[in-house]
Amino acid sequence: MTGLTVLIPIALSLGLLGLAAFFWALGSGQFDDSDGAAARILIDDDE
C-alpha cells in the first residue's frame, strides 16, 4: 500500500510530462510540415 503513494504520483507525473512535451511540440510547429521534415534530411548543405 505505501508503495502506491509513491508510484501513482510518479506514474501520473510521467504521463503529464509526456502530455506537456506533446503540447510543446505542437505549439512550436513541429507537425506543421511533415513532408518537409522528411525531405530536409536529404538536403546537402556543403555547397
Partner: protein
Amino acid sequence: MASQALIPLATDTETDIDTTQISLFAVPGMHCAGCIGKIENGLVRTPGIASARVNLSAKRVTIQHDPALSPPDLRAAIAALGFEAEPLADPGVDVAAAENRMLIRALAVAGFAAMNIMLLSVSVWSGAEGGTRQMFHWLSALIALPTVAYAGRPFFRSAWAAVRQGRTNMDVPISIGVLLTTGMSVYETLIGGEDAWFDGAVMLLFFLLAGRCLDSLMRGRARAGVAALLKQSAPGAMLLDDSGQSRWVAASALRPGMMMLVAAGERLAADGRVMEGESGIDIAFLTGESAPVRVRPGDLVQAGALNIDGPIRVVVTAAGPDTVIADIARLMEEAAQGKSRYVRLADRAARYYAPSVHLLSALSFAGWMLAGAGVHQSLLIAVAVLLITCPCALGLAVPAAQIVACGALMKRGVLVKDGSALERLAEVDEALFDKTGTLTLGRPVPRDLAGLGGEDRAVLLALVQGSRHPLSVALRQALEGEGVVPAPLTDLREQAGEGMTGRLGDETVTLGRPRSLITLFDLAAQYRRGDRAVLLRFTDALRPDAVETLTDLRAIGLKTLIASGDRPEALTEIARQTETTAIGHLRPQDKLALIERLRASGHRVLMVGDGLNDGPALAAGHASMAPASASDASQLAADAVFLGDRLAPVAMAVRAARRTVRVVKQNFALAIGYNVFAVPLAIAGHVTPLVAAVAMSTSSLIVIANALRLKGAAR
C-alpha cells in the same frame, strides 16, 4: 522578368536592413529536398531578404524581408531560382488550422486521462476494496473533472448552439451523456459508492474526439492542397503619380482615376481602361477561353487579367468591391447559401436517435422507480442507459468512413474538401458540364507538329523555352513531352506582341504571329526558318477520356448536360461526340438559373466547371467539382478538385462517394445493432463500468474496421 530581380540595394550592410516584413508565397512547383535547399539558400543570398522558410506540405514559402522589397520583387527573386510563385494574402489567422490544433490538444488530454483512469479502474475491477477503492475513485475524479471540462468543450459548445436554436444534433446526447455520467460518478465518489463511471465518460470523449479530429484533418488536408494551387489575382499594382514617380500600392488602396503600370507577366489589381500601350491579355479566369485578347488604348480590362505581351498603362475605373470579379463573388456567396442548408447524415440520424435515447433513459428511470428500486438505484440505471447508448460508434462511424474514402480519392488525384461534400456527391442524379476547360483541356494544343522535321522541332523548342505566351507554353509542353532536345540558338530575343527571334548558325529563325493570314482559327503561330514559313495551328482539345466518362456517368444513372457560354456552333461537334445535349450562350446568371430550374424539378445537380463564369453555378449545385486548372474562385466554390488531364476522376468520385455512404449506413446499422444487445442489459441494471468500457471499445473498433474496407474505394 529576370531584370526585376536586380534589387536596388547595392550596399551589403546587412545589419542596417530592416527585416520586419513577413510575406507568404505559394510555390506549387516545389516537391523535393532539392527544391527546398535551392529556394531557402537562394533567397537569403538576395539582398534585403533575411530568411526564407519552406513549408513543403502546404507548398508555401515564408519570407522575412526588408519592407522596401515589394511583392513583385520577391516574386522575381523566386522566379530567378526557377520557380513560379504567387503572393498569398495576409498570413492572418488560419481559423481552420487553429480549430484543428485545438481538437488535437483536446484529444491528447482525453487520451492521457483515459489511459490513467483506466489504469486505476482496472485495479478497482480486480478487487480493490474499502479505502484503496475510495482513493482510486478520488484520483480518477481528480483527473476526469478537468479533462471533461477541457476536452468536452467542442461538444458542449456545439450542443449548446443547437439547443439554443431549438434544434438537436449528435452533440446533444453526447453532452448530456458525458455530463450526467460525470455528475453521477462524482456523487458516487462522495458517498463512497461501489461504482464510478469516470473511465467510461473520458473514454467516450476520447473516441469521439478521435472522430472529430479525423474529420477536421481531412478538411484541412484538402484545403491545403487547394490553397497551394490558389493564386491570388493581384495583391497590388505599380502606380504612376503625376510627377512621373512610380510606387507600389496595395490593391485595397487603389481608387478610380489612378494610373497603373502593368508589366508583362503581371496580373491587374483593378478594373480599368487601357491608356497607353498594346498587349494581349489572358482573361481565361473570366471566360475560360485560352486565347489572349488583344487590347489597345481605350479598351476595358478586368481585375485578375494576366498581361502577357507588353507593358501597358491602365487607368483604374473600378477597384475592390466594385470590380467584375467581386460581383461574381457576391453572386457565388448568395448561391452557396442553399448548400449550407444541407443537413449531414450523422445529424439526420441524430434527429431520431437523440430523442429516443433520452426517452429510453427516462422510461427506465420511471420503470425502476415504479418497481420500488429507490431514486439512487433508478438514477444509476438511467445513467448507465445513457452511457451505453451514447453515440460513440455513431460519432466515429461517419468520419472514419469518410476519411478513408477521401484518402483513397486523394491518392487518385481528387481532393474532396469535406465529408459533407462526399455525402452530397453520392446523392446527385444529374451532371452539368461546362465546355471550355472542363470537357476540353482549356489550353491550346498544337495540331501540326507531325509535319515538322526533327531539326525544326529542336529549333522550335529552343525558341519557345524562354517565353510565357500561352502558345509557347503549349508548344513547349508538347515538344518536351516528345523528348525533343532544344537546338543551340544564339541571339534569342522575345519582342512583345511579335514573337521570338533567334539565330541557328547563319539562318534566322522566328516564331510569331501569322502575317497576312486568312484563317478561321484564332489560335495560330507562324514558324519561319530562312525563307520557309510553316503555319502552326492550335485547338482546344477534348479531354482524352471525356466521351468515356460521360458514357460512364450515364451508366451509373446520372443524366448529363453541357452548359456553355460559348456559341452554339462551337458546341455541335462536342455534343455529337459525347451524345449529350448542349446549351450555348449562357451567362453566369443563366447557368445559375438553369441549376435552380433543375433543382425545382427535383433533380440534384452535380456541376462540373472551371471558369469564374461557372463559379455561381458551382456554388449552387448540390455538389460540384472543378479541375485543378480552374480559376481560383471556382476551386474555392467546388466541393472537390481533380488533378490531371483526365475527366475520369468525376465518375470515380461519384462512385466512391456512393460506396462511402453505403459503408456509413452499414456502420449506423452496426451501431444500432450493438445497442439492441446492450440496451436491454443496461435497462435490466446489469451494466457495470467494466461492461460499459468493453462494449464501447468493441463497437468503436468494429465500425473502424468496417470503414477501412473503403481503402480501395477509388477505382
